[in-house]
């Protein structure tokens, strides 16, 4: 009896100490552009992440998840430096981030070498996950977005001739343009003109005046919000009456709507997510409610995808014996199948999420949901 008592006490002590040991912190690094030209992107994404973290900051075994946010100032080099810092000094288990394609691609090599899994919320460029063991994303790749855009242009907008505007400083823009060109030609369309711009440019009037002389009917421009807003405004000032189709980067920052004003009415845009689309999971409803309550605004596509990056990492951690084991976490992230996230059902294959795309039209300064395209 005495012996049994002793054994029990010891085991109880052992359990207690074990639970003290395990109730620790797991760190997830977050790299976002919180300032700089695409600071609006990072701020929108981070809001979603904050809300999701407030909804669920515990793992199944009781560990707390801590987020460490670093601002990459919208810069490639800063992104790489932030990744080094998170890995070597903060010792994070996983990284959410760098958000966009160019910045994510600048840091993936560092994460890859350190075997720290990276989940990118909205880095859609094809090359982001190519030949990478530790990089995944919860958005689709541009291979899909470019095809969706080409299909929509031919089948819905009935436009067989397109002018293409590419931002040659953006991996994102170059990637989509390439896929769009290929898909559009395959469907019988013709690219009548391919115009190149630089992000950071403000004067597009000379370029647009040339286009105007061609009387274009349809313009596809996979560029970011600032340039898209300025192009829209100047195109309207010059009296260009074409249909415009943009991509998720166009509407990501609200500066596009503000600067564009009336000029962006009737623009079409492919997107990753729309809070007006029919909700497919329980979490998406819950997230939507909590988000609107906490932040007093509607859910931003970047926010919900940042939230899902977090959810997928947490789910992967829950499947591992040691949630801080980065190799195991990565294995489980990449094995994600039919995960019911805040943005819908996500399956990850070779690091890329298979998910549907949304097409919106801009009406009264807002995106209005048109249709969903499944892969």
């Amino acid at each position: 009896m005495k012996l049994l008592n002793k054994v029990l006490t010891i085991s109880a002590c052992a359990m207690l100490s074990a639970s003290i040991v395990t109730a620790k912190e797991v760190k997830i690094g977050v790299i976002m552009p919180m300032s700089g030209p695409i600071g609006g992107f990072g701020q929108s994404a981070n809001k979603g992440l904050e809300v999701m973290h407030s909804m669920n900051n515990k793992l199944d075994n009781g560990d707390t998840v801590k987020l460490i946010l670093i601002d990459n100032k919208s810069d490639k080099i800063e992104s790489a430096n932030s990744a080094s810092k998170l890995i070597s000094s903060d010792k994070v288990t996983a990284i959410i981030g760098a958000l966009t394609s160019t910045n994510t691609m600048a840091m993936t090599k560092i994460a890859e070498n350190a075997k720290v899994p990276v989940v990118a919320p909205v880095a859609t460029n094809i090359l982001v996950t190519k030949r990478k063991e530790y990089v995944s994303r919860v958005c689709f790749s541009d291979a899909f977005q470019g095809e969706v855009a080409a299909n929509f242009a031919i089948n819905e907008l009935k436009q067989k001739e397109a002018v293409l505007i590419t931002d040659v400083k953006l991996d994102y823009s170059i990637g989509i343009a390439k896929i769009f060109k290929r898909a559009y030609k395959k469907l019988g369309g013709k690219i009548v003109k391919n115009v190149r711009i630089n992000s950071g440019d403000t004067d597009f009037k000379a370029m647009l005046s040339n286009l105007k002389a061609m009387k274009p009917k349809f313009i596809f421009f996979p560029v970011y919000s600032s340039e898209a807003g300025l192009i829209a405004k100047q195109a309207r000032q010059l009296g260009i009456k074409a249909k415009f189709l943009g991509t998720d980067g166009m509407t990501a920052d609200k500066v596009f709507f503000k600067a564009g004003g009336k000029a962006v009415e009737g623009f079409y845009g492919t997107n990753l997510f729309s809070s007006d689309a029919p909700k497919t999971t329980e979490l998406s409803k819950k997230f939507d409610d909590t988000f609107t309550k906490q932040k007093n605004e509607s859910v931003h596509p970047f926010g919900v995808l940042a939230a899902d990056s977090y959810n997928i990492i947490v789910a992967a951690m829950n499947k591992c014996k040691d949630p801080a084991d980065n190799v195991c976490v990565n294995k489980n992230i990449r094995a994600t199948k039919n995960f019911k996230g805040a943005s819908g059902v996500i399956s990850i294959e070779n690091g890329d999420a298979k998910r549907s795309a949304i097409i919106n039209i801009i009406e009264n300064g807002k995106e209005k949901y048109l249709t969903t395209v499944n892969p």
Partner: protein, 298 residues
Amino acid sequence: MDFITFIQQLINGISLGSMYALIAIGYTMVYGVLRLINFAHADIMMVAAFAAFFAIDSLEVSFVLATIIAILVSVVTGILTDRVAYKPLRHSPRISLLITAIGVSFFLENIVNVTFGGTPKSFNAPEFFDTIIELSGATLTPTVIIVPVVTVLLLSILLFILYRTKYGMAIRALAFDIKTVSLMGIDSNRIIMIVFIIGSALAAVGGIFWAISYPILTPYMGVMIGLKAFAAAVLGGIGSVSGAVLGGFILGFTEVAVVALYPELGAYKDAIAFVFLIIVLVLKPTGIMGINFEKSRF
């Protein structure tokens, strides 16, 4: 290129060129007097644009009042940069002054970055500037007419001040020989302050025109504009006010012409504009209206 497109591109070139010109005047004047390339000048333009943005967006004042506020803010910033950063270095080697100017430029960029958050801001100009005027195929907005007119008007006023007033004479004298002029009993610091006031006010006007035409503001918007305006000043002959205006127009036209004639090279328009600048400078090192600095000024 058909005739209407040509006219349209001509208009584009004029309006872009006049904005470069307005900012180039500031570079040229400060250089003429202090032999200083005032790198902070374009950032003063940026500060003016943000001041106007803040006045309209947060204080909700009218556009005219916002313009006045913006000019005042940039004039004060201009005077302060001179008093705090440049004045103590009047007798130091010129390189110290140049490095200080770069420092002031970074300081202004970052202070705006911290205050306004660094994300692109959208400038709400009055509807009036968006009115579209159709002229037999070519379309204009009031901005493209107002900007060149105001530029030429301001240039005339400036030339009047320089050549017909006592202060203008003092500025020109200062540019000639700052030490002797001080010995003659002219308060050189006061005259330099006037130069900064004129330069900053012109930069503010340029900044507001820029914000109306390209309504997205970032703290680093001044960097590229400043580089180009400075290039315009050098092209026209640094130290010469009329040269700066001419240089601004030439640069604006070159940029538009590159895109208009070779649309495939559109992404390299800056590079081509600068190559053109280098060619002109190789042929005429003092710039187009270049002046022999030992003989005359402005």
